[in-house]
Structures are given as C-alpha cells and as structure tokens.
Amino acid sequence: MLVSDLIKLIDAEEQTTGVLDQTIACGYTCDLLSWVMAKGKANCAWVTVQTHMNVVAVASLHDMACVVCPEGVRMEEASVAKAAQEGIAVLSSPKTAYDICALLHEAGVPSV
C-alpha cells in the first residue's frame, strides 16, 4: 500500500504536500514515544495523537512512511515542515485510531 492509497482508505488530509509515494509495510499505534522507539520499523504507518517535534524525530529515526493523526487532530506546523524535510508524510483523519488500524489491517497491512 502507498501513502496515497492510505489517504483514500481513511478519508485523510495530507498535511505535508506531495509525500505520497512511500510504501507502507506495517502499522502501529501508541502515544508513548519510547514504546514506539522500541517497536517502530521502517516504512511503518504510525497512528498517534502526539503532534510535537519529537514525533517526527522518532518517525525519522525509524525511516517510517507516515504519521497519522486520528480524530481530526492536526500536527503542529513546525513538525509538519520537519516531517516534509525528512520525507515522512503527515496525515490527519477524522476516524478514530481504532478504525484507522482496523482499516489498515483489513487492507492487509500487518502490525510491526
């Protein structure tokens, strides 16, 4: 699945612009950064309500594909700019983290 496919799947808005062709290999959801640090993988789609700069640091250290903010949460502009620089897409979806993960799973994307 590509980031562009995920955008359609979860009715997301891309906060970054044009970071669409990354492949999504797996998914994870957690708001505790050192859990994500322990579990994160390359090309992961990470669902979190955290929006600050350090989310991007964690995503980037793991070469993740995208960060997904659920329930209409939007990432801070400074973090979005940093993510774009690192080639990580930032998506905001009206769906809950639960629904986003369920849809990813249904579409065949495994857990980390």
């Binding site: 050192s34 322990a38 980037s60």
Partner: protein
C-alpha cells in the same frame, strides 16, 4: 577511528532528537550495517532525551573504529539516586507536563540496554551520570 561530540541542553524539546539524527546519518554514511545503525540510533535517541528531560545538560559522544562503536552519554548532574530502579521497565520520575508529551513510560534505559552489546552506567548524586553503550562490529 573518529569521534564526535554532540552537546545536549536541558529542556530543549524543539531540538531534541537532532543529535541522534546526526549520529544515525554519520553511521549510515560510513557504511555501518543497517541493524547496528538502528540500534545505535535507538540508544542515542533515548540517552539524548534523558539528557533533555532529566539532566542539567550534557553531551553524547560517538566513537567509531573498525571493531567497535561506542556511544557515551555524560551529564553534569543531578545524578540518579537508585540506578537499579532507574533501569527497571516502567520506572520514571518524569513530571506530568513531560508525560503529557508521551515521555515517561520508563522504557528509555531498558531500550538502550536491549539495543547494545555492552552496557555500563555510573551515576553519582550531585556529580552526574555516564552511560556507555558498545557495539562490536566483527563476529556479530
């Protein structure tokens, strides 16, 4: 053999993660195997964030030679009261505002231990904490 020092300031959340990001890029560039780059990046990130959150300031030092990568985190205080407690999963003294940002799961030091080949920690109240994580590049 080369060695680089990255100063890390207390409380600087906006730039937190930059030292570990640089460390990751350097290791990638000199051709260190990807799984070791990932392990060092995890250890660097966790020790860097601990410097930002828990210390009065300090630095990360990365040393690389053909056999060993060594990552050292050193700070100027306040030191850790009970090191064995600090190494336990789930133990954290992070304040509430920092927990709200998603830190303070008490998983940082266990992550470092799990992602290095040799781990050492020494701490003295009033003086500071030194953490060494080593990675052996041959026979691994």
């Amino acid at each position: 053999m080369f060695s680089r020092v990255f100063p890390v300031q207390k409380g600087m959340f906006d730039t937190a993660g930059e030292a570990s990001s640089k460390i990751k890029k350097i290791l990638k560039k000199v051709g260190i195997p990807p799984d070791i780059v990932r392990d060092v990046a995890i250890a660097a990130y966790e020790t860097e964030l601990n410097l930002v959150i828990h210390s009065l300031g300090g630095e990360l030092t990365l040393s690389v030679n053909p056999e060993i990568i060594e990552l050292i985190s050193q700070d100027v205080g306040p030191g850790i009261n009970d090191v064995n407690m600090a190494l336990k999963e789930g133990y954290s003294t992070a304040p509430d505002d920092v927990r709200d940002m998603g830190f303070g799961a008490g998983m940082g030091l266990p992550n470092v231990q799990r992602h290095c080949h040799e781990f050492q920690i020494a701490s003295e109240l009033g003086r500071g904490t030194t953490i060494r994580a080593k990675y052996f590049l041959k026979n691994n």
